[in-house]
């Protein structure tokens, strides 16, 4: 019912506007919306929900027949058109749309459809899916200045016998444009200077000044943060902090440095895919990773990996194409020409990152893959270390190759044989002493967990495990990735499963990103992994062959501290075995805390069910082939090479000395690199992940395989374009792309007018609103994309476009509306007057801080925690909110810490966007909770006090002057005499109340952390505080008019 009403509304409101310039019925603008709204649910693009075999979303369908065999439309012949018969019949069984659809057609709509069929049933493409061309600028006389935007708007107004109205008075205009460009009000001096000489030239100078201010980038960033669903936390369950503010700072910088908009978008979508991408280009791609992430224990990893990628597709669709792709996750879109296949084709562009669907619960680990946020200084240091490491690696090799002579001498003189590495811990598991297994090395023990049984082993007794028991060995095996180390043990599996954890040094599996090292069996194959966080920062190898069941196998790995797969050797039964390298990308450390080395089980992991373990040894060096053979009780390979290698490792001091130096360098490098904050980014995998249509959208129901491609209805992806995100991003910029430029300029328009030329800035599809000024929209889109040298507009230059908009009379008009204006066009769709909007959440708070002098203007940095009511986080078990101190309380609102599950309440009252998903259009509501926040929030009360103090200090000598100053600072205009009378009464009343109760005045003046430096009696300052508060709540302060 609601939706029906809505369509009629649009037709009524927009009908006349749209008919301008069109002689007959316009299919795309007049007919298709009716068909979409009323018919497409059953007769649209979706094959599965189609009824009666009839589709009305294509020409072929509509001009053909359904199962009934009767033609839906016979051009020019109403009585031979089944569609017309069905919508006009009185037979309830035949009538369309059917009653149970809760849809219906108005007589006006039926009439339109009849006229359309009578005129020949001309077909067309939905307006937004055909690329914009550059319309001619209408010739309109009586324009105050020659401005293309005004020409389009005035031409359309002329159709209603209306004109652009006069400009807003200079003060309101400067306030309007200052807020729109910087999010802050103008100062009194700026107002005075502009008012003194409000020429177009001076206005343009003001615009340039505002755009050059760093506040410009901060303000522009706000909308982009909504769109990018930027937040400081992951958003699920415990909702952890993740430092992604460096990306936010990059956005601010990009606006301030005028990075052209095409680059701005391409970098964010695909900056990593440039050849030799810069750090900033990599950082920009954090955009794609800002979706919610789940660290809840026990989730199905793949389910969330898919969910994250779906969010990337949805964000891409809403932000850059203005189309809702979400529906097509589960089925062909019911209204828009997007098939489910096309959804997964897009999906496949975004999923080729080595990520995990589960973020880390234990420890603050940035979800992988990441890039390092190093300073230039750190980069120099890292490069230098890397150089020294490489040099030392060469040196180590050189020493090894030069050891031949010494080896020959040693071999001829040595009688005792080769020295064998000594384990740092070794367990036979033969017997327990006071409930623990002793190690052959002093002071080390293995503690049984849940009673592993003792059975005959490879030698003596062995552990027999059930998957939920094992032993833990505290204080053993705390190795970093820079340390050489080895494990060796006998194992006997009883069954092959997807996964069995044999031994590991880590806190948990997924819940800890596997950080640490491990030996696991994967369908019998032996896998050895060293992980910072699986899978994007890991090193993992896997044997080609599986282990036999019910047979003892000796398994050992030797790791050389190089963080390279090449430096990890797997020995089975004493021999090095061929392995598959599953990951070779370990570059941060594998340690945190000091978890126990553990055999047999791991938190929320598959244990070594039915397995046996015997003779475990741990080494702080890389075992040699000779040693691996010895421990496996097989004859050491008698190849000279092997013996030489062993000699070098154990009995050749120059080598071990050089190795120690190398290790030190690696440790230094590891320490430094691990200490530097990283940030999640896109990093394309060498091999794209296979993509499938997911049936019903379910992560575990893959269907047909698909490859990367763009939706056919939105312009083709050039065959020569790379099939990756970079190709996709550049596809947006093609002149054949019908949506990107339109959607972008529409959002820019919305920024300045509160409403887009297409009201549904998030939906340009068939269910979206039609443009109120289609030619203007297209002109702006083409001009933005291609530039216009005559108008000094550079291609994709946002500031040039914005300057064009704010210098139009359409923007500069007064927003004042007569009763008849309001009755005629309550929402100002015709643009016959200037925009009126309520300040956003950010503007309201920032205005209070700015006018009171409290605002700390510092660009960027970690998010801050200003005042918020006590106990909010605690109530929802979101940890403790530690209110910031000093300057942190007075930063601009875009720096306020955004916890997704408990967002800042005062911002939420004022319609800030939910930062859980892409939002390009905020609501603007009016509620009592807003009144409460703007009167009682500590932030506002404190700002009012400082504002009062400033008024008393700088506002003039008499109360009248002071009231005048305060009023003007906040609202931008002086009070009228009648307003001054009321304000004086307000002041007098409050002063007399406080004089009768000075204790209350003192209490009020204590609200907020920062004291005022004034010398005024507390009763006076308290009364003025409330006056200031009244001003901050005044219509002229809360609204942009």
């Amino acid at each position: 019912m609601l939706s029906k009403i809505k369509t009629i509304g649009f037709i009524l409101l927009l009908g006349p506007a749209l008919s301008v310039g069109f002689a007959g019925i316009d299919f795309a603008r007049q007919i298709q919306p009716i068909l979409s709204e009323t018919c497409y649910q059953c007769h649209g693009p979706s094959d599965t929900s189609r009824k009666g075999g009839l589709r009305l979303d294509t020409r072929e369908g509509a001009h053909g027949s359904g199962k009934s065999g009767r033609l839906a439309i016979t051009p020019g012949n109403l009585s031979a058109s089944e569609l017309i018969r069905r919508i006009t019949t009185s037979d309830a069984d035949d009538h369309m749309p059917p009653a149970d659809s809760h849809k219906s057609l108005t007589t006006g709509q039926i009439d339109l459809l009849r006229r359309w069929v009578a005129e020949g049933g001309k077909w067309g493409v939905h307006w937004s899916f055909s690329p914009p061309s550059l319309p001619a600028i209408p010739k309109v006389r009586s324009l105050r200045k020659n401005h293309p935007i005004d020409a389009f708007v005035a031409a359309s107004l002329a159709g209603f016998k209306k004109k652009l109205t006069q400009n807003a008075d200079p003060k309101r205009l400067l306030r309007r444009v200052s807020f729109d460009l910087t999010g802050l009000p103008p100062t009194v001096n700026e107002l005075a200077s502009f008012e003194a000489n409000p020429t177009p030239e001076n206005y343009l100078e003001s615009v340039k000044r505002l755009m050059a201010s760093p506040r410009y980038g901060e303000h522009m960033a706000v909308g982009w943060l909504d769109l990018a669903r930027f937040a400081d936390t992951h958003g699920f369950q415990t909702d952890r902090y993740r430092p992604v503010w460096p990306w936010r700072d990059w956005v601010i910088g990009a606006f301030n440095q005028q990075l052209s908009f095409d680059q701005f978008v391409v970098w964010q979508l695909a900056g990593d895919l440039f050849p030799n991408p810069s750090k900033e280009q990599r950082l920009a791609t954090t955009f794609n990773r800002l979706h919610l992430q789940n660290e809840e224990g026990g989730i199905v990893e793949e389910e969330y990996r898919v969910a994250y990628n779906v969010d990337r597709v949805n964000t891409f669709g809403t932000a850059f194409l203005g189309v809702t792709f979400e529906c097509a996750r589960c089925h062909d879109h019911k209204y828009d020409p997007i098939s489910q296949r096309e959804f997964y084709q897009l999906f496949s562009f975004f999923q080729n990152v080595d990520e995990s669907g589960q973020s880390v619960y234990f420890g603050d680990i940035m979800p992988v893959p990441t890039t390092l946020l190093s300073s230039a200084e750190q980069d120099t240091k890292l490069a230098e270390l890397q150089q020294r490491i490489s040099a030392q690696e060469i040196e180590v090799k050189r020493i090894a190759t030069n050891a031949q002579t010494e080896f020959a001498t040693w071999r001829s003189t040595n009688t005792t044989g080769a020295t064998l590495a000594k384990p740092v811990a070794a367990f036979t598991f033969d017997s327990m002493v006071s409930n623990i297994f002793p190690s052959s090395t002093a002071g080390k023990v293995a503690k049984p967990i849940d009673n592993p049984s003792s059975v005959d082993g490879y030698s003596g007794k062995a552990l027999s495990l059930n998957g939920e028991n094992g032993v833990s060995m505290p204080g053993i095996g705390h190795f970093t990735r820079a340390d050489p180390f080895s494990l060796a043990l006998w194992i006997q599996p009883a069954v092959h499963t997807l996964r069995q954890t044999v031994i590991h040094h880590s806190q948990a599996w997924m819940d800890a990103g596997s950080r640490g090292y491990e030996i696991v069996l994967e369908e019998g194959r032996v896998a050895v992994g060293l992980h910072h966080m699986w899978p994007g920062n890991s090193l993992k190898i896997q044997s080609i062959d599986g282990l036999p069941l019910h047979t003892w196998s000796h398994v050992a790995f030797a790791y050389d501290g190089s963080s390279r797969a090449q430096g990890l050797t797997l020995f089975i039964n004493g021999l090095p075995v061929p392995v598959k390298i599953l990951r070779d990308h370990l570059w941060k450390d594998i340690t945190y805390g000091q978890p126990d080395l553990t055999v047999g089980l791991r938190m929320r992991d598959f244990g070594f069910k039915g397995g046996k373990v015997d003779e475990l040894q741990v080494f702080d060096s890389a075992l040699t082939a000779v040693e691996a053979a010895r421990f496996a009780k097989v004859p050491p390979p008698s190849v000279a090479e092997t013996e030489l290698a062993h000699f070098i490792a154990r009995d050749y001091p120059p080598y071990t000395t050089a190795l120690a130096t190398l290790r030190k360098l690696r440790q230094e490098q590891n320490g430094l690199v691990t200490s530097i904050q990283d940030i999640m980014v896109m990093e394309e995998m060498d091999e794209p992940k296979p993509a499938y249509i997911l049936k019903r959208g379910a992560y575990d129901a893959p269907g047909e395989r698909v490859s990367m491609n763009t939706p056919a209805a939105m312009g083709t992806l050039s065959p020569s374009a790379p099939r990756n995100r970079l190709g996709l991003a550049r596809w947006l910029l093609e002149p054949s792309n019908p949506l990107f430029a339109r959607v972008t300029v529409n959002r820019v328009w919305q920024h300045f007018f509160g409403r887009g030329l297409v009201e549904t800035s998030d939906n340009f599809g068939l269910q979206g609103a039609l443009p109120t000024h289609p030619e203007l929209l297209d002109w702006l889109a083409v001009t933005f994309a291609q530039g216009n040298p005559e108008l000094r507009i550079r291609p994709w230059n946002l500031q040039d476009l914005q300057r064009l908009i704010v210098t139009s009379d359409t923007y500069c008009q007064t927003s004042r509306a007569s009763k008849s204006d309001l009755a005629d066009d309550p929402m100002n769709l015709k643009l016959g007057r200037g925009p009126t909007r309520r300040l956003t959440a950010e503007m309201l708070r920032d205005q209070a801080l700015f006018t009171s002098g409290l605002l700390i203007e510092k660009i960027g940095g970690p998010s801050v925690k200003p005042y918020q009511p006590d106990g909010l986080w605690e109530m929802a078990s979101g940890g403790r909110y530690d209110t910031g101190k000093g300057g942190d309380l007075y930063r601009r609102s875009l720096y306020t810490y955004w916890k997704r599950t408990i967002p800042p309440p005062s911002m939420m009252s004022f319609d800030a966007a939910d930062r859980s998903y892409c939002v390009v259009r905020r609501q603007s509501t009016s509620t009592p909770l807003q009144a409460l926040a703007l009167l009682n929030d500590t932030q506002i009360v404190e700002a009012s006090r400082h504002l009062a103090n400033r008024i008393l200090k700088e506002g003039g000598a008499t109360p009248t002057q002071q009231l005048r100053s305060g009023f003007q600072w906040i609202t931008g205009r002086p009070p009228k005499p009648s307003e001054t009378v009321i304000l004086k009464q307000l002041l007098a009343e409050q002063e007399s109340l406080f004089e009768g109760d000075t204790a209350s005045a003192d209490l009020l003046l204590k609200v907020g952390e920062k004291s005022t430096d004034g010398v005024h009696p507390s009763t006076k300052l308290a009364a003025w505080t409330l006056v200031a508060e009244a001003l901050l709540n005044h219509d002229e302060a809360v609204m942009l008019r």
Partner: protein
Amino acid sequence: MTCSHINFRMDRRAFFGRFGLGLGGAALASLGSQESQAAAGGPFAGIFNSGHLPAKAKRVIYLFMSGGPSQLETFDYKPELVRRSGEDLPDSIRKGQRLTGMSANQANLPMAGSVFGFRQQGRSGAWISELLPWTSRVADDLCIVRSLHTEAINHDPAITFFQTGSQIAGRPSFGSWLSYGLGSANQNLPAFVVLISKDRIDQPLYSRLWGNGFLPSQHQGVVFRGGRDPVLYLKNPAGVSGQSRRKLLDRMAELEFLQYRDLGDPEINARVAQYEMAYRMQTSVPDIMNLSGEPESVFDLYGPEARNPGSFAANCLLARRLAERNVRFIQLYHPGWDQHGGLPTGIRRQCTDVDRASYALITDLKQRGLLDETLIIWGGEFGRTNYSQGKLTKTDYGRDHHPRCFSMWMAGGGVKPGFSYGTTDDFGYNIAENPVHVHDLQATALHQLGLSHDRLTFRSQGRDYRLTDVHGRVVRELLA
């Protein structure tokens, strides 16, 4: 001049336009006759004057047991499971159903019968656990559903699903839908109020659970907290008396009137009305929260815990007070039901928390003649497994999340009293008959409030959204 000179009536057309309700001109014309309602209701007016259908209930009290209470220790009696305690869950029952990562890797899945006894209660003979002696007394008022099932297996998406009809964050909450559909029947209180038990948090609760999603933000749930500032920013700043605020508001209204006279924008008057409503809330909310006027007999009914602010019992009493004042949707959360281990101890504590107060709420509403028009819903976001997570001993075990079947109850609001619906198999693992999906429950509740779940829609990003997505069936079998 006083504020009474000011015309507080708002221009409805501008109201809808401004507040993004997206109604076109024709719709506004059709609503023109409801001018008075709009003027009276202001921002808290609903989109449908009186719903689509004859309403059985005027409001909902939703007692949300967050964490997922075990059905096997409360409402779903399974003697066979008790007999088979310790045996491995047969594959024929599990049928490869996915488990959470918490127990998926467990070497064995030993079935665990309840250590608590069950008895048939009331004339209806409903089986109820010994942990719920008070609830048992009102067995004949309950409509117990033992065959609920959901799609989510983890807390966050599962609670979000129950509260918003979608596992994805950002959709409007149940209460917001109701506020949007029916508006507020109270001029001094919001239509959708949230009360959270203190001290029982195990799994987090999120403000999106009572968020308005894409609905206009006046429909968001307002949390009433214990303590001096029950609604965020409700209290005047320190040092500002009621008299001071009143005078401040009067002068502000005068200034706004001048502004209105100059500009003619009805939005100005709408804002003044908000400030007045805020002022009224400053009195009405503390009034509601102040239980000191309640007679001794009431505390005898709800039990001594009702004197402990922020307890479930105190919140139930508050819920009754809010219901009396016609608040549309009263959402209680009682967390603490997530017993992966140590279930017998944990669930005993939880039942003690809620048992008597639930009984009292039903009884109290009934005595006041309000039960018929108030729909009470009791339940969590999913059930718990019939096997033990972790070790099973004679006296101790845990249970993992189980979305396949679980129990809830409703009372009042035109549902069948003394009625049980739906059964599970003897193992308590699968539904045997009459499954009820989350969307079915939502559709049924909306139906009782006079709203058709497939017609209560809101267009966002080109799609008409509903609480029940594209699903949901009114379970008529549950209706009186």
